[in-house]
Point group: C2
Chain length 202, copies 2
Amino acid sequence: MRIDKSEIEQLEQRYRTAFINSLAGFRQAVLIGTRSVDKKTNLAIFNSLIHLGANPALFGLMSRPDSVQRDTLQNILETKEYTLNFIQATHYKKAHQTSARYEKGISEFEKVEFTPVYLSGFGAPFVGEAVVKIAMKFEESIPITLNGTILIVGSIRMVDINDGMVGKDGFVNLSAAEVLISQGLDAYFISSEVGRLPYAKP
Amino acid sequence: MRIDKSEIEQLEQRYRTAFINSLAGFRQAVLIGTRSVDKKTNLAIFNSLIHLGANPALFGLMSRPDSVQRDTLQNILETKEYTLNFIQATHYKKAHQTSARYEKGISEFEKVEFTPVYLSGFGAPFVGEAVVKIAMKFEESIPITLNGTILIVGSIRMVDINDGMVGKDGFVNLSAAEVLISQGLDAYFISSEVGRLPYAKP
């Protein structure tokens, strides 16, 4: 099957959204925990986590201002704090349910029954059930003017990770813990290792 | 295990790189095909593909100017054309080998034995073995000044995909084709489906 730009533009809208979004491939599923200035908790699933660099340790996130993600974005911009939480695949239905358009002020933690926990004096809530919990500080937002999305850049303040998941070389074994992977808007996966390889030399 | 920002900064460099990079989770492995202005082909593995939007269909890539990825970046900026290629897991060793620092002018297509193919009059080479081939046009580069990385924004010009991989709803079934997933600098995976879920409602 071959499809060009003008044919993509003529696709039915929901078909095109599913096609292009799933075409971007496999991505880490991450639950983002935030708190509003009046301390109401919020939890939302994202699949746009981006590694920007290890020193300083910076991760990015893409956000659309016009979507269900706007409460998360507003909380990040106002409080400068957010958490990244990786969960095991057994929780995938609850994780997906955080993408529903709950009214502002309703906490997804309560609605889908994840446990909010607070660590190291950090204001934003973590997901108690998560096997990887990362505290993030907002650094800057970079607008992508072509389509009105925003790249949120944050620095890692703290990582809390289940014992035994970090190897002697620093590698985080997410696969053995059956950490949830996402593709497109609604598909969830776990991974099987194919292999690790040495540094490639010419 | 809990580790904070100052402890991360004090980690041994290679350990920190492996830790933070793998901590960003699972990502699509993609081979980027380019050609220089004097028509020398280049192929490099990336794991920073980002979905930016479906209408217009835009994908992003993160690039470090100071790395083995610089030939790819230069070719994209000079020719405005590049290809994204998803391969099956059986090819993972060859795909990883494209990350070696070959001298400029040496084609990774020849060195690792992927087949360059040209489609629809597009100047950049595709990977013949890829089950998903995407022609991209460079739109803009956005600097992340905090750490000197660059977000490359491109629009989809054409998608060539193996028959039977696209469902009736537009979803691209990468899992059944055993499309390669990456984590960190050197780990490769395939996926098993956990499930697809309906649009979440409150």
